[in-house]
């Protein structure tokens, strides 16, 4: 045991009443090799018994872990990931409930038609009827989910330019948010190769390919962008590669600098035109 290592002990020069510097000592500390810390702490005078030592250590590591866990997770890009996933959850639930509503209401009106017309018939004929009140409340629920989804979409639209301006500009706010969410954060997205970004959201197809059962997927969730979905089939692979290349540059600029870079966007459009005109020549 050398003096230098004693200086690395988590309890070295630690004020037992100062939780913050305790958390920092736990979190940022460093030592090349472990030692018999409980005995050293008693020798050093930090604790008088092993029980006291472990009890202090438990409390401090507990507080430090809670503090740093929440600091790592309450970042803007994670909030956006939650928001876009909630949008997707709302959409799915909306779809299911509206299918259910149509079927249920159809039992009463006897014709397939839009929900508002059916509801009008229902409220004329069966108002305050104890069998139909559940249909009305299902409809209310649906309206409320739909408006909450729209509010979340506006939240994403207003936040994305601050979180990832280039990605937002290039992919649109929702796709940009989806990419961040799939990658597990802006940092991870920025550090992924563009070939990975290209197939984010197509993991099943990708792993089938890696196991040798299938061809490689051309695109994942970036397919939803019109650069790809509105282009001819035989160009989509090329376009997806070009698009994801620029998207990953955009993510890197967003993560490391955060300034909007207009040139990047004109570059992409030029490249897309190039691919499309080349395609026509063939």
């Amino acid at each position: 045991m050398n003096k230098k290592d004693m200086g690395q002990a988590w309890f070295y020069q630690l004020d037992p009443n100062d939780d913050l510097s305790g958390s920092v000592a736990i979190n940022d500390g460093y030592c090349s090799s472990p030692h018999d810390w409980p005995s050293l702490a008693i020798e050093y005078g930090y604790a008088s018994t092993p029980a006291e030592y472990y009890s202090n250590l438990h409390e401090l590591t507990f507080k430090a872990a809670q503090k740093f866990a929440s600091e790592l997770t309450k970042t803007p890009d994670r909030q956006i990931s939650h928001a876009i996933r909630t949008v997707d959850d709302y959409s799915r639930i909306e779809n299911e409930l509206s299918t259910r509503l149509s079927e249920w209401i159809g039992d009463y009106v006897g014709i397939s038609q839009d929900i508002p017309s059916s509801l009008a018939i229902l409220s004329n004929q069966y108002e305050n009827h104890n069998l139909t009140e559940h249909i009305f409340s299902l409809h209310d629920q649906l309206i409320s989910i739909s408006s909450k989804r729209e509010q979340l979409v506006s939240f994403i639209e207003s936040e994305m330019p601050n979180i990832a301006p280039n990605l937002e500009q290039m992919a649109g706010p929702l796709l940009a948010a989806r990419l961040i969410s799939l990658a597990g954060g802006l940092e991870k997205l920025a550090k992924k190769p563009s070939g990975t970004l290209q197939v984010l959201g197509a993991e099943n197809a990708l792993f089938a390919h890696l196991r040798g059962h299938a061809t490689s997927p051309k695109h994942g969730v970036i397919y939803t962008h019109e650069h790809i979905s509105k282009s001819p089939l035989h160009l989509r692979g090329n376009l997806a590669r070009a698009f994801s290349g620029k998207l990953s540059i955009a993510a890197r600029i967003d993560y490391y600098s955060g300034n909007l870079n207009p040139e990047l966007h004109s570059d992409l459009l030029k490249k897309i035109d190039e691919i499309k005109s080349r395609g026509v020549r063939k």
Binding site: Q8, A9, W10, A25, I26, N27, G29, Y30, C31, S32, S33, P34, H35, D36, W37, P38, Y54, S55, L57, H58, T61, F62, A64, A65, Q66, F68, A69, S70, L72, T73, F207, L210, R211
Partner: protein, 210 residues
């Protein structure tokens, strides 16, 4: 039947389970203060229920790498005197902290098991048991890098997840290579493939080579 008084078999609702004594954590069955160690949710529980000894007994001090939600850690802490529980990811750490609330012998550490120098200023030397269940590449290297916490008579209980090393190579090839690599630093006492609840996992019991 196990000689250790710290975990045992108990019949609950007509079925025999391995159990430990402590406050319940995850909705497991309980009887007279004993709680079922669900072997479909815990690889260590699965191994112990096959009557394999790993050196988990009262008063041992444990370093647990890959503590996750604290399901297994909670049982280990029911037995051991101190459990240093390392978990890298903040979300499972929330659950682990909740478990540590009722078990003050757990030392929760939000750290990367691949970088032992970042917790060597906290975790003591000469530990009795190193349990490792991490889902990352380089699992054997992690076990080797953390060998310095073990006493010369300590034991390593390591679970290799083939799928964490690579998604493409066959698991058996991954296991073979892992064992070769591990045997440079550890004397391998036992290997055991896990049951269908834990597919493509190999449990290894080993002791550190001097």
């Amino acid at each position: 039947m196990n000689a250790s008084p710290s975990y045992k078999y108990l019949s609950i609702q007509g079925k025999r389970y391995i159990v430990t004594k402590g406050p319940p954590v995850y909705g497991e069955l309980t009887k007279d203060g004993w709680r079922q160690w669900d072997s479909s949710r815990s690889k260590l529980g699965s191994i112990l229920s096959q009557n394999i000894e790993v050196g988990l007994c009262p008063n041992v001090k444990v370093l647990y790498l890959g503590a996750a939600n604290g399901t297994t850690v909670s049982h280990v802490a029911d037995i051991a005197s101190i459990v240093y529980a390392v978990e890298f990811s903040p979300q499972p750490m929330r659950d682990l902290l909740n478990v540590s609330r009722s078990r003050t012998n757990i030392i929760p550490l939000l750290k990367d098991a691949r970088r032992p120098e970042t917790y060597s200023h906290i975790v003591e030397s000469n530990l009795d048991l190193l349990i490792q269940d991490v889902a990352t590449r380089g699992q054997v290297k992690t076990a080797i890098d953390n060998k310095k916490f073990l006493s010369s008579t300590g034991k390593l209980f390591l679970v290799i997840k083939a799928r964490s090393e690579t998604a493409t190579a066959p698991p058996d090839a991954v296991f073979k290579q892992s064992l070769e690599q591990l045997s440079k630093e550890y004397n391998i006492l036992l290997t055991q493939k896990l049951t269908s609840d834990h597919k493509d996992h190999l449990a290894i019991l080993a002791e550190p080579l001097p």
